[in-house]
């Protein structure tokens, strides 16, 4: 039976590994190559890597670094950040990146998504939707350019549109819960899960393996992504790459075993 996925989410910035809180205050975690290698040794289900460098515009992804990271990993990689053309996507795929994530460009230029799907197939094209709560009603809204631009778009409507375009997977990135380790926002997840009939992954808020367990129990086959949980240890948030052993993961996922 298909298992839910437990996925470390890593942030790159200027070639280094970082972790944010609410998409701000990046904290240096070290060399990404060692982190990828460690997750590989720990048999992580897959990795999601986002490049949050501010000055990538026009330069595209850091292909050299990504090539090294891909060569270290025997598990699938999903990469997002600075992708603006089909050539970028092609190059990433040839380096060994299975899934390519588009974010801001999905809003500004959805034609590229259609073209990419026709060349690379739905399964290789992912869209990451950054979501923030806005206004005094705390409505969910899609955010762009690393949560620096408000779009006024409703995440559920946007997800439906992307499903119609043929996108293979959606990653819901909760800006408000990022780095807080206080649990996933089930309301947001449920709204999108029940509306868009394509595979979903969620990142933002995981603080423990129990949070992961509750998420996969509630939403079958969802991808449970986490940043802080897999790079920090203990109440002082000491940097230490960690990931559940196969036995621990079975316990976390066993509620969905069939």
């Amino acid at each position: 039976m298909l298992a839910s996925r437990v996925i470390p989410c890593l942030l790159l910035m200027d070639g280094g590994l970082y972790k944010t809180v609410k998409f701000r205050d990046p904290r240096y975690l070290g060399d990404p190559l060692n982190a990828v290698r460690l997750f590989n040794e720990k048999l992580a289900d897959e990795l999601v890597i986002f490049d949050i460098s501010k000055n990538r515009h026009g330069r595209g992804p850091d292909f050299s670094l990504l090539g090294k990271l891909a060569s270290e990993s025997r598990m699938p990689l999903c990469y997002g950040g600075g992708i603006s053309s089909l050539q970028d996507i092609e190059r990433l795929v040839s380096l060994g990146i299975e899934k390519v994530s588009l974010s801001s460009v999905a809003i500004s230029n959805p034609k590229i998504i259609e073209q990419a799907i026709s060349v690379f197939g739905s399964q290789s094209i992912v869209v990451t939707i950054d979501v923030k709560r806005k206004g005094w009603l705390r409505t969910y809204e899609v955010s762009a350019a690393n949560a620096s631009v408000d779009t006024g778009l409703c995440p559920v409507d946007f997800a439906s549109r992307l499903e119609q375009l043929g996108v293979g997977e959606l990653i819901i990135n909760n800006v408000d819960m990022d780095g807080l380790m206080a649990g996933y926002d089930f309301t947001l997840v449920r709204n999108i899960y029940e509306q868009a009939n394509i595979p979903l992954a969620v990142v933002g808020g995981a603080g423990s393996l129990d949070d992961v367990s509750r998420l996969v129990d509630e939403f079958p086959f969802i991808g449970a992504c986490a940043g802080s949980l897999f790079v920090y240890k203990g109440k002082h948030k000491a940097v230490l790459i960690n990931y559940p052993s196969p036995e621990q993961k079975n316990l976390v996922l066993k509620v969905r075993a069939e």
């Binding site: 891909a70 060569s71 598990m75 899934k99 899960y193 868009a196 079958p220 086959f221």
Partner: protein, 206 residues
């Protein structure tokens, strides 16, 4: 030596790295004459059916490849969309497939109700149920692999199906006709079991 076919669509480097780390001689094949040097071949594939066929035809490797596989019976392992192009045709595109294994490719059955579990594409770690023994499965009895696809291979002859995987219904996850093997999953990105399968392909006789 294992030859990994680089026809412009696929993560060639993933296979090369893996075989190198296992100490198995491997080479990337970009020219037809290189095919004769390989004792076994890998046909990778990431992407859509028509793109794969177009790129393969444009690469000028097809003729030498067919001679090697169909005449000299060089063992070949086709991966993901590489496996799908072994068929005659696909719902995903309009071009003809290689037709090396009789059958066609259709969209995975799904359910329109979002509250249902089975969404397309099929993506993640799933197990295979071996229905026909093969040396490629040595020490892989309860193995799990990473799948990432929206279409399935419907083999015309049931004896061409070596393993099934359940997702909504059961679909063919491993197919074989003589020296031609196809796997729907990505062994190059399936950790230990994937490495073992790729090593089995090298070590065993087909």
């Amino acid at each position: 030596m294992i030859g990994v076919l680089d026809y412009g669509l696929g993560n060639v480097s993933a296979f090369v790295n893996l075989y190198r780390r296992s100490g198995i001689p491997v080479q990337v094949i970009t020219k037809p004459e290189q095919i004769t040097k390989a004792s076994k071949l890998i046909l990778p594939g990431v992407g859509a059916f028509d793109t794969a066929m177009t790129r393969l035809n444009q690469s000028r490797l097809r003729d030498s490849l067919e001679k090697a596989v169909l005449v000299r019976k060089v063992p070949i392992l086709a991966v993901c969309v590489g496996m799908q192009i072994l068929s005659e045709r696909s719902e995903e595109g309009v071009l003809e497939g290689l037709g090396w294994i009789e059958g066609s490719v259709a969209k995975l059955s799904s359910c329109d109700n979002p509250k249902a579990k089975y969404r397309i594409p099929h993506l993640g770690w799933n197990s295979i149920k071996i229905v026909r023994a093969s040396p490629v499965f040595t020490e892989l009895n309860s193995a799990r692999f990473y799948f990432l696809h929206s279409y399935e291979f419907m083999a015309r002859r049931s004896e061409d199906v070596l393993a099934l995987t359940k997702y909504t219904t059961e679909f063919a996850s491993v197919v074989r006709r003589s020296n031609i093997l196809g796997v729907q999953f990505h062994p190059e990105k399936s950790h230990i079991h994937g490495v073992k399968l790729l090593e089995n392909f090298w070590l065993e006789d087909f």
